[in-house]
């Protein structure tokens, strides 16, 4: 069973009096454990695609199955549950909650669903250790560097043990050395813990490490629709 399965997904929205079509019928399958990059020029629809997969937005048409369950028709409050349980987010601007310290930011998705106590605290410390945040646990986001903030965001995305982590341009606001560290960190998490990652990025270094690249142009996928085909394409690419 595929983790993500999109069939004929269309998305259009009104911009003033004109209707903008952001996705023109996308079919996409992502399997568990993939490390996939969606790439395409600005306005190609990659952020819209990620938003729909992340349940932050809903498709106008088509079917979206996450972990075998059709969720395309669910309302926002239902989707809040799905986002909380199954998906982790890493944003370009980190999007931490400014009044919470590192520990509190990491545990936030668990706390809002009622978890707490020592078990959670131990998990938070373990995740913080995994992403290298141990010396900064009591710091507020404004006391951290960009790279440290993104590590907090990664830890927050991982704390719920989600099936899928979505990362929208995660290295766009980081210098190259920090970017490399963050990419290595995500690769390690993918490799060692089997976390499924889906990126949108312009960053060639992220693409270098991707095991699969999905190219999107004008709201349609032009390359890499299903993962088996992608693997073949990549094998060919690496052979040359």
């Amino acid at each position: 069973m595929s983790l993500v399965s999109l069939k004929g997904v269309k998305k259009s929205y009104q911009l003033g009096k004109t209707e903008v079509v952001a996705l023109k019928g996308v079919d996409l399958v992502i399997e568990k454990g993939e490390f996939t990059v969606v790439m395409g020029p600005s306005g190609s629809g990659k952020t819209t695609l990620l938003n729909i997969i992340g349940c932050l937005d809903r498709a106008s048409e088509g079917s979206y199955r996450l972990d075998g369950e059709e969720i395309g028709h669910r309302d926002f409050n239902d989707l809040a549950e799905v986002r909380n349980r199954k998906i982790g987010f890493i944003f370009q601007n980190f999007n931490l909650i400014p009044v919470l310290n590192v520990i509190e930011n990491i545990e936030f998705p668990c706390v809002i669903r009622g978890e707490g106590g020592k078990e959670l605290r131990d998990r938070v410390l373990a995740v913080a250790r995994d992403v290298g945040l141990e010396p900064h646990l009591k710091h507020k986001p404004d006391e951290l560097s960009g790279g440290q903030r993104q590590r907090v965001a990664i830890a927050r995305a991982l704390i719920t043990q989600p099936q899928l982590v979505l990362a929208d341009e995660p290295t766009a606001n980081l210098d190259s050395a920090t970017s490399d560290q963050i990419i290595d960190l995500m690769l390690a998490l993918n490799r060692d813990k089997g976390v499924t990652f889906l990126f949108s990025t312009h960053d060639p270094r992220v693409m270098e490490h991707a095991r699969r690249v999905v190219r999107i142009h004008d709201g349609a996928i032009v390359d890499g629709t299903d993962s088996a085909a992608a693997d073949v394409a990549r094998m060919h690419a690496s052979a040359h």
Partner: protein
């Protein structure tokens, strides 16, 4: 829920300048509400005390039916004015003094002229025990007050002027004429020894004589038309009234000052309306301030709201978060404002404020005060009001779509 409350508290503390400005608005609003209430309480208590100790006494005893016919000043509906009867009244707990009065319509005759006058006959020794403030309304009337001149009479300034004009035209001493209890016109010579500084409603053409003069004139020896009663604590008036009525029986009617001085009760309810309108205006202004703060906060934190939604916070919890924040600001501002208001009131209470009531030229010292229950009420209103006025901003925050909110609205 503990987490939301804690998050709300941190958010409130986060933009300190804005929180301080909102708190200042609440502080001033609630402070003014409490102070105005305190001033009004003080003024009303002084007004009541002024009436009780300056005009009516705390309670009055009349013959049954007297008050219904009060405009005709019926002398036949009279009550005993004897030490025995006073003792019976004084036996009731909290009663401190009793004073007799006779109210009657009379005329002052000077030569060929006669002027109509409303008369009160009092026993100065007893009257000033029940109505000590009354003493101050008598100007140059030492001879009346101490009983040095048995036929002494004092009249209001307006009457005094009219009488002096007539007195210049005759050598005869003034005479007080009135129909006695049996309806026969009779008269007594009087000496004008001073004036009454009164301007209240129905007080302009008033004269005072000693009760023994009036009793002779009206053939009412040992009688009076009303007895005034002083109590040691005005809060005990209802209890004393009931006890007195029971002791005296149905032949007499016991009335509290509120039933006699209806104009004071009316004035008090008019003042209440004004106080409530002023308080409502202040409340509305400060709550609009809170609503504005919350709306600003929602606009500034759009991306953060998006983040919270992205990690799975439900809409109801976003609403709850902003409502918590508003209620915190409301409660904190309310407590601070009420504290300041209560301190100002307490200071004024200790210091005392000299006030002259409209229509009077006798100043009195008032002591503002507020009841703790009012302070609790005001703080609750500020917090609840802040909550209500934050409903719209909170609802707006919760209606954001996650994808729009993450993009910064």
């Amino acid at each position: 829920m503990f987490n939301l409350a804690r998050l709300a508290l941190r958010n409130v503390l986060r933009n300190r300048r804005r929180t301080l400005i909102t708190l200042a608005a609440l502080l001033i609003g609630v402070g003014v509400m409490v102070s105005i209430r305190g001033l009004m309480n003080g003024f009303q208590r002084s007004m009541v005390e002024g009436v009780v100790t300056g005009q009516t006494g705390a309670l009055q005893v009349h013959k049954k039916g007297y008050l219904k016919n009060v405009l005709a000043s019926p002398l036949t509906l009279d009550v005993p004015a004897t030490p025995e009867f006073y003792s019976k009244i004084k036996a009731i707990p909290h009663v401190t003094a009793v004073a007799p009065r006779i109210m009657f319509a009379g005329m002052v005759n000077l030569g060929d002229e006669t002027i109509f006058i409303t008369m009160q006959a009092v026993d100065p020794a007893l009257e000033f025990k029940v109505c000590p403030l009354r003493k101050a309304t008598i100007v140059d009337g030492g001879k009346f007050k101490d009983g040095g001149v048995p036929d002494a009479m004092v009249v209001t300034t307006e009457m005094d002027k009219a009488l002096k004009a007539k007195a210049a035209l005759t050598k005869d001493p003034p005479a007080l004429l009135a129909p006695d209890k049996e309806g026969q016109l009779s008269g007594e010579n009087v000496s004008l020894v001073g004036t009454l500084a009164l301007n209240g409603p129905g007080e302009r053409k008033l004269g005072l004589v000693r009760i023994d003069v009036a009793q002779r004139l009206l053939k009412m020896e040992g009688r009076a038309t009303e007895l005034l009663i002083a109590v040691d604590n005005i809060d005990e008036i209802p209890k004393v009234k009931a006890a007195l009525q029971a002791a005296l029986g149905p032949e007499y009617e016991v009335s509290s000052w509120e039933e006699i001085a209806k104009f004071v009760v009316d004035a008090r309810s008019r003042q209440e309306v004004i106080v409530k309108v002023v308080a409502a205006v202040f409340l509305l202004l400060m709550l609009l301030g809170v609503a504005n703060t919350m709306l600003m906060s929602v606009l500034e934190r759009t991306r953060e709201i998006g983040t919270m939604m992205a990690v799975g916070v439900r809409r109801s919890k976003i609403v709850a978060l902003f409502l918590y924040e508003a209620a915190l600001i409301g409660a904190l501002g309310g407590v601070l404002g009420a504290t300041v208001g209560a301190l100002v009131t307490a200071w004024l209470n200790l210091r005392g404020l000299e006030v002259t009531a409209p229509g009077s030229n006798v100043p009195f010292i008032m002591h503002p005060y507020v009841e703790p229950s009012y302070i609790v009420q005001v703080v609750a209103i500020a917090a609840t009001g802040a909550l209500l006025f934050a409903l719209y901003p909170a609802w707006r925050a919760s209606r954001l779509r996650p994808v729009e909110a993450l993009a910064g609205g």
